[in-house]
């Protein structure tokens, strides 16, 4: 596998459209050899719902409820399911690098990077396990989900770690199939998820630090910043795609 020095970006919060655009801008810059492989941890301000590339917006989200609560909506370029990104209650990560730096097999690459999250959670006393295709669970309940894409030779995987769940908000904006929950033996969708705060006394900062250590383990890395070109390109991608209703309502 290709071995390059990783850039670790400082934790930042952004609106949903900007968060998705930054991932794409960094991937572009890596494909142009203008940036190196990058790991970023980030938050969402305001809180947001992201839906998978192939999901039908109205099937997955109560758009009106999001509007009432001031919650952003963004369609990701990656597949996967709808995710509620609480401003305070979760940590999101992205791993963006040339494809040869990760396993060629899609499922194996999920296992590889989700393994870093499992290791990070272990550092704060949580025993978690990878559940294929793209989830991490604690005692059978989901604590993390991820999605990946590969474009122009660049691999991107992003995902979330739930720190503290507000089930009332989460399940008022996400339309979750009640029957599906019952078929999994849960009385409500909230019973299918857990969070760091339910499983450990670790603070959000401690979890973030543990994840940074776990992601950096065994790698040559440095703490870096985004370039002005990356920010400018991110702004353009917001206008072109993620801040654009046509993209958001594509399905």
């Amino acid at each position: 596998m290709l071995n390059q020095r990783w850039r670790m970006l400082r934790y930042e919060t952004h609106p949903a459209s900007m968060n998705m655009a930054i991932d794409e801008a960094i991937a572009e810059m890596i494909s142009f050899n203008e940036a190196g492989p990058t790991i970023r941890f980030y938050g969402w301000d305001p809180s947001a719902v992201s839906i998978g590339n192939f999901q039908n917006l109205d099937d997955e989200i109560d758009v009106e409820r999001c509007r009432e609560l001031g919650i952003d909506i963004v369609r990701r370029r990656t597949g996967g399911g709808a995710v509620y990104h609480d401003k305070e209650g979760e940590i999101t990560y992205s791993v963006i690098c040339p494809e040869p730096m990760v396993d060629k097999d899609i499922n194996a690459a999920y296992r590889q990077i989700c393994g870093w999250i499992v290791n990070g959670l272990k550092m704060v006393g949580i025993t978690a396990e990878f559940r294929p295709i793209n989830d991490i669970t604690v005692k059978g309940k989901k604590i993390s989900g991820s999605a990946q894409t590969r474009r122009s030779g660049i691999f991107t995987q992003h995902g979330t770690v739930l720190y503290q769940v507000d089930p009332d908000v989460m399940f008022s904006v996400l339309k979750v199939d009640q029957e599906r929950s019952r078929s999994k033996g849960a009385s409500s969708p909230a019973d299918l998820v857990t969070s760091v705060s339910k499983e450990s006394n670790a603070t959000r900062n401690e979890v973030l630090t543990a994840l940074v250590y776990a992601f950096a383990e065994g790698k040559d890395w440095y703490l870096g910043r985004m370039s002005q070109d990356e920010f400018s390109r991110s702004d353009a991608i917001v206008r072109e795609r993620y801040g654009n209703d046509e993209w958001t309502h594509a399905r």
Binding site: G52, F54, Q55, N56, G79, G80, I106, I133, R251
Partner: protein, 95 residues
């Protein structure tokens, strides 16, 4: 013309929904949605268009093979569902 929907949760995989309009027995306006993955992502729209362009009905013989050939021609990799799931749902819609 009646719009129809069928969906399934693939065991060990993802949720897939099919929305179609039935023009007689012919399937049109095919939309495939769900929480699955397709690589490259753009291939899903091509698969939808090619399913329509082939004028498939839910009563076709060898429907699964025909759908598999359309998917295969795009070079797409489907994760969390397969051509068989698309074919089964097309049949279930009973256009």
């Amino acid at each position: 013309m009646p719009a129809r929907r069928a969906q399934r949760k693939v065991p060990g995989g993802k949720l897939i929904r099919l929305d179609v309009v039935c023009e007689g027995h012919i399937l049109s306006n095919i939309r495939i949605s769900g929480d699955f993955f397709v690589y490259p992502e753009e291939a899903l729209t091509i698969i939808e268009r090619n399913l329509e362009a082939n004028g498939l009905s839910g009563h076709e013989e060898n429907l699964e093979q025909k759908v598999a050939a359309i998917v295969s021609a795009t070079g797409a990799k489907l994760i969390g569902f397969g051509a068989k799931d698309i074919a089964d749902l097309l049949r279930e819609l009973q256009c």
